[in-house]
Symmetry: C2
Subunit: 244 residues, 2 copies
DNA sequence: CCTACCGATCGGTAGG
DNA sequence: CCTACCGATCGGTAGG
């Protein structure tokens, strides 16, 4: 589609789904979809430079030059994967935050959806890490910009959540004075602090998954609720902490 | 510093070449040290495959083959850097935990030392991430084993810290029943839960630094104390949390 | 989708 | 520490 192969365009239903014939089994994923999946896995396994287009082609059972019927370049491939991962993450985790129930229950649901997504799509979080620490040059700028945009948006969503939870009386506000913008040196609001804590908590969980080597990965997930309870207790009591 | 002539290869403590004049103590320490520092930076910037020995040599102002007077291979170079990083991290952060003062104050000091180390040696944490997600083959096994060993040791140190803090009455134990090993299905002790929370908290902070793009890095460090207070409040109150 | 092929660069070696 | 060089592989192109 991008470069216009000589017969490829007739065989590739990129956007429209192929129509299954009667009792036929599930339609095979298009080559392009398989390419994106394999590439995502390999980027996550080997890093940006370590993932070669030749290896991707091997896993697909085709020759390397054939990849260019589906992608424009390695850079574009990475950017598309990053974009998809961020969108999929957002789609999987955002809605639970807006449903019914207490702030406590909604945030817990959001956490579960986020972790579930990370478990099912481990390469998605890996790509985000690569984007900020493995690529260079023009690609680095584009990837960083995309990531920053998504991250700021997510930060806004979470900050709104915490602010509303505080205003709704679902979170203690021992540091209530922080909200007043009475000075030239602006201090953090309680919602900002909790948002920051949440982002750190979530990054920690996703990173911990990476470091949970071997069989410790499942053990870790079983303990998610323990981590959650400690975190939540820090939220509802934040501000009451004594410096002893 | 001796710069001329190839005869210095006989004086190098290189792993691949014999040292006929054994007993000589570090004839050229600075070149090797500079090599390790430059290599650490480049690995962190570009990933394992993305960091080329040629580029390392360029930054040192020498030719690529000359590197092999100081290293045996790229794999060995990476392993040595990883080893050094882990040792340096341990040395920088462990002792504050054993000093005088309350558990609260000691853990806060330990946190500060850890974050300070991560700020001063950003490539150290990056190497750990590479070790579990970027390398493959024989190197991956060796790196993972080394990392796992350090991590388990650190986990033991922290678990002991939390257990002693609990026994000393410095942390609330609302979930005290967890300690009793009265059933066949063993439950987590409070110390284990807090250790797990701590590891997640720390990973989150270190990861957050990676994601704090551009100027947001300094802003982030200013808020460390906010994060700490939320975390500590979760610790001292853990177990009292209601499921509402 | 393929074969054939490009210049550049990779980690590493030989030899001085 | 150097020059000269190795086979392998890189991302990507030409052309059908």
């Amino acid at each position: 589609m991008i470069l216009g192969g000589f017969t490829m365009s007739a065989e590739q239903p990129a956007a429209s789904s192929s129509s299954p014939r009667g009792g036929e089994s599930d339609p095979l994923p298009s080559t392009r979809e398989r390419l994106l999946e394999v590439a995502g896995q390999l980027f996550a396994e080997r890093g940006y430079s370590g993932a070669s287009l030749g290896e991707i082609a091997n896993r697909l059972g085709i020759r390397k030059p054939s990849l260019y019927n589906h992608i424009a370049s390695k850079d574009e491939l990475f950017m598309e994967l990053l974009e998809r991962s961020l969108d999929a993450w957002q789609a999987a985790s955002d809605s639970p935050l807006d449903g019914a129930g207490s702030a406590h229950r909604r945030l817990r649901r959001h956490l579960q959806k986020t972790v579930d997504f990370a478990v099912e799509s481990p390469h998605a979080t890996a790509l985000c890490r690569l984007a900020v620490s493995q690529v260079s040059g023009d690609l680095a700028e584009r990837a960083s910009a995309l990531l920053l945009r998504h991250r700021l948006e997510y930060q806004g969503v979470m900050e709104r959540f915490f602010r509303e939870a505080i205003e709704g009386g679902e979170l203690a506000t021992g540091m209530a004075d922080c909200n007043a913008d009475d000075g030239p040196a602006r201090r953090s609001t309680m919602a900002e602090i909790l948002t920051f804590s949440w982002l750190t908590f979530l990054d920690g969980i996703l990173m911990h998954q990476v470091f949970a080597l071997g069989s410790r990965r499942e053990v870790y997930l079983d303990r998610l609720d323990d981590l959650w309870q400690v975190f939540w207790r820090g939220c509802v009591g934040a501000g009451d902490v004594s410096d002893g």
